[in-house]
Symmetry: C2
Subunit: 319 residues, 2 copies
């Protein structure tokens, strides 16, 4: 083990985490890859992940986190773990924000105390930018934070805790802010997998029409497999303390994504509007300025058409 | 009670809170003024506060907070309560960030559910700006957040939760970011009261010299009584959703503040440097751009000389 890279992916069985693990294991099969998981995810893990070591751990528990770091001695930490948005009640908002702050402090303090020379990637979100007006596009990393809900505020806090620990303790922390990404294994809480699942049900005769909400929003959408490649590029070549937008740089309307999905359906698809899903689009368009990540030598490689076909294939394979 | 202003000051027995309560009670003695307090502060409250109603409550408890709002039906809420910085261990950092997020969510959700037309002032800090370079001075409200410790991150989170609730629910939320302020009743955890207390001890023959740390830092210092007047101006005339720096607009070196204190001492003062207090100044100078608050008709009125004399008198009155 000595001298070799030891990679730790927190939230390694989540959507992006599992894709990242697959990518790193395929790239260098002899690397030590460790994943943490709270153990509450639906089990939809690819078989290739069996080559990684899985640690069931609650990262809000600092002593457990420290022990894990002592045991693994990670040299590169991809820190993807976070509680995702689950609702807007006080209880839910309080839980999300408390867990996301606590696990961030726990992981960063373990980094500082146990492996202060390791590199750590803090994964943020375009939701940190929140409300953006059209004249502010494309969104650079200097865009002010205008988060629109407690989850987004908790992502800002995670991001800035990464900054504070890098700056105050000289730690090797890098930060990214990922724009929308999609792909196989993403849950139907997100629009594109929800569309795909419904189309597959129509193909199977289990549903007659696809119900959709507002399709006017324009988003910057990447394939998750391009996103995790970007994480690896930032880990290897990013500048410590800096933050990098991860996006395509292109705005795509949700309507055109739906049209692409429908083009690849094996049967006729009828679209109807579901008033329950018609939330007003707070933000008409999100589009990343990607000059910083592009300067590191990364670029998106997977056309949206291929992503959409991959997602449809994934849902067709589900029983 | 109907139709009349009902004022609630959270953290109303704290340093700024007690000065704000004194100011509002003196200005309009017939107003209903309610204070919340966790009940753990040192009892150094001015007697004038007896005209206000004191509520001992833990604002992280949402049900208690909601009941208080239902009982008082506040029309103006000055939300000053927050856990202050107490150290940098994981346990301390986790507690500060958790409490500050939780009480912010609790107060904002109670506003939304119980008194959605009330005005609420969110009190932030210049520490949110954190690391500022000299070419970024004076600091406008558009300065990026570069907080240097978990407490400062928790203040950013409180600030942005205020933004998110204003924007998402149309609430009447105003925000301020206060630069350094000082005055009577501030604890000796802060430099200026610490200097003053030591000078008074020397005057009494209880101490032979004053021990100080780094004096090179330049700060934007206001009298707390000017600060609470600014809070009231923002409450009355501020624009909902906006944020206002509260500062003097002038940079003063800590050395010159110490010199002012020494000039007003009744005996000869010897200054020695205490290596334990010599933390490097992360930030050489903080100075606020105060055009926004000035445009509301507020300006600082108390010369630093008077502030310093008031603080010395306060410590001389303590036994």
């Amino acid at each position: 083990m000595s001298g070799a890279k030891q990679i730790l992916i927190t939230g390694g069985t989540g959507f992006a985490g599992s894709h990242l693990a697959e990518y790193l294991l395929a790239k260098q099969p002899d690397m030590g890859v460790h994943l943490t998981s709270l153990g509450t995810e639906k089990e939809r893990l690819p078989v290739t992940l069996h080559a990684a070591v899985l640690h069931k751990i609650d990262l809000t528990n600092f002593e457990q986190t420290k022990e894990l770091f002592q045991e693994i001695q990670p040299t590169e930490i991809y820190h993807l773990a976070a509680l995702a948005e689950v609702g807007s009640s006080f209880v839910q908002a309080a839980k999300i924000t408390a867990v996301n702050m606590q696990l961030q402090l726990s992981v960063l303090t373990a980094l500082q105390e146990v492996v202060p020379t390791a590199r750590l990637l803090v994964v943020g979100s375009a939701l940190e930018y929140g409300k953006v007006s059209l004249d502010e596009l494309p969104i650079t990393e200097r865009q002010p934070f205008r988060p629109l809900n407690p989850y987004a505020v908790s992502k800002v806090a995670q991001d800035l805790l990464g900054y504070a620990f890098a700056e105050s303790y000289g730690l090797q922390i890098l930060r990214v802010r990922a724009f929308n990404h999609t792909g196989e294994r993403q849950t139907t809480a997100f629009a594109i997998p929800s569309f795909a699942e419904q189309i597959v049900k129509i193909e199977r005769g289990e549903q007659t029409e696809i119900r959709v909400g507002n399709l006017e929003a324009i988003r910057d959408i990447l394939d998750v497999k391009d996103v995790v490649r970007a994480y690896e590029v930032v880990m290897q070549r990013g500048k410590v303390g800096e933050v990098y937008n991860i996006g395509s740089g292109v705005g795509v309307s949700m309507r055109s994504v739906l049209d692409l999905l429908i083009q690849h359906a094996t049967t006729q698809i009828t679209v109807t509007f579901d008033p329950d899903r018609l939330r007003p689009a707070d933000i008409p368009e999100l589009r990343a300025d990607i000059r910083k990540i592009t300067a590191l030598g990364w670029q998106a490689e997977i056309p949206l058409q291929d992503t959409v076909q991959g997602i449809l294939s994934f849902w067709r394979s589900q029983t």
